[in-house]
Amino acid sequence: MASPTTLDGKVSLGTGGRDAAPVKARSLPRISGKGLAKVAAMVLPPLVVLAGFLLFWEVACSHPGAGLPPPSRVVSEAWPIIVDPFFDNGGTDKGLFWHISASLQRVALGFALAAIGGILLGTLVGQSEWAMRGLDPIFQVLRTIPPLAWLPLSLAAFRDGQPSAIFVIFITSIWPIIINTAVGIRNIPQDYRNVAAVVRLNPLEFFFKIMLPSAAPYIFTGLRIGVGLSWLAIVAAEMLIGGVGIGFFIWDAWNSSHISEIIVALVYVGVIGFILDRLVAGLGRLVTRGTSAA
């Protein structure tokens, strides 16, 4: 086989597919002194570090003329948007909930399209030597283009912010999905192909019954990276396209010098990004239960 240039390495997140936390969580029901100590050992360190960080921040930014507000002022200034994320005064003057849900809708649509397109293209590239040779170099170039660089082009093509933002999500998150799917397809053991050949599965059956389940661990690695990139891209894209969305909210707050609101929004962005990542990882674990162990 021609030595694969870039597709051979499985692109993976630093933490890998399996996390220690859920395994430990499963042993929780036995509430004993030992169990509680375990929970404390997991929860305490981040709490301590967080408290230390907030304290440092408070001290460092309390003096007059500090560039950033201290945490206490962030909470007091941004209190209205913290306690009521659901208000809607029309236009773009809405609560954080509405901004985040608008952003999530764009991500959901763009990411879903990227997942479908990425899995199909990845299958093609993984399955056919010819498609690999033809498409891989193009993909390798395209995937290095920063997400926002696509925005002007998509605005020109779609003439509207909404589809442009969705396109940016799509084009940002599709590459890791393609690449990981292709690696997964390429790694389908010959044995499985032989089984499929002997029972004469047709190409469609082969795709659904052999390829997808066999490559699922790889596909989910790609999806997990992709969803992270989507979330990175949407915030940036929304700053430029305007309308309702968490990115626009941040940009708008900056323009009206509401630094405290920016900080609250950033906390939301981080937490949502984390949840998205865990969601896809958890789904992957659920789907590949049988496959990954073998």
């Binding site: 044995d191 499985y192 032989n194 002997v198």
Partner: protein, 264 residues
């Protein structure tokens, strides 16, 4: 006309510009219901022969005929029991068998009949108790039994087995050999089985095909095993024919066609 007919089968592989001839002039005729073993030193080309019959590899020269028709692609009428069982790890035991049955017998049997047929084949290899387990939850011997059930469930005219018991301990192996003999007596399939084990070959086979060493391996000798069926392993130990056949095969493998060098 023979049921399965290999004539002048040869195959060469080209790797990195170098062509090696693995098989040359393999001629073999197998009658319906016959149990034939192929034995030979590791790397001589046994699996290659089997894969050509299965249609998974294409012969460079010669043809394989099944009931007079040329074999050109894999198909369920030549079901394979793979050396490493090749179960799909994301499916349960029952689903692994069902994948084959639902595809192969979709036209022949109704849904209810297929479902009963799956259970029947699982029962045949005594795997009903673990039907809902996944392959990584069962032992090696059990996986091999599922592989056999899956192959048998396709109602093959020829059953191809590549060292089906190779990776098993002696006790499990003996047990599965007995089950296989039992199944063969009942279903009267034509079977080609590859093995490394001389006793296994003599116990199970009607004929033993002994292959010469590669490259350009071919059939060195074919030995007919005359003992009547059903065969009982304990009674055979003293049997004149059994001892004779065993000696013949050992003689072929270790005197006349000893493995050239154990360098590999």
């Amino acid at each position: 006309m023979a049921h399965l007919d290999l004539s002048q089968v040869g195959i060469s592989f080209t790797r990195a510009g170098r062509t090696t001839e693995v098989l040359r002039d393999v001629d073999l005729k197998i009658a319906k219901g016959e149990f034939v073993s192929i034995i030979g030193h590791s790397g001589c080309g046994k699996s290659t022969v089997l894969n050509i019959v299965a249609g998974l590899l294409k012969a460079s020269t010669g043809v394989v005929l099944l009931d007079g028709r040329e074999v050109s692609s894999p198909g369920p009428e030549r079901a394979v029991v793979f050396q490493n069982h090749s179960l799909l790890p994301w499916l349960t035991v029952r689903e692994n068998v069902a994948l084959a049955v639902d595809k192969v017998l979709a036209r022949k049997k109704s849904r209810a009949e297929r479902s009963a047929w799956i259970e029947h084949n699982l029962a045949l290899v005594n795997m009903m108790h673990a039907a809902d387990k996944r392959p990584n939850e069962i032992s090696g011997g059990m996986k091999q039994r599922v592989g056999i059930a899956r192959a048998l469930a396709m109602e093959p005219t020829v059953l191809l087995m590549d060292e089906p018991f190779g990776a098993l301990d002696a006790l499990t192996r003996a047990h599965l050999q007995d089950q296989l003999m039992d199944i063969h007596v009942r279903l009267k399939n034509t079977v080609i089985m590859i093995t490394h084990d001389v006793d296994e070959a003599v116990l199970l086979s009607d004929r033993i095909v002994m292959m010469t060493n590669g490259p350009s391996a071919t059939i060195g000798e074919v030995l007919t095993v005359p003992m009547a069926r059903p065969r009982k392993r304990l009674e055979l130990v003293e049997d004149k024919d059994y001892v004779h056949c065993r000696a013949e095969v050992l003689e072929f493998l270790y005197a006349r066609h000893a493995r050239p060098a154990l360098a590999a």
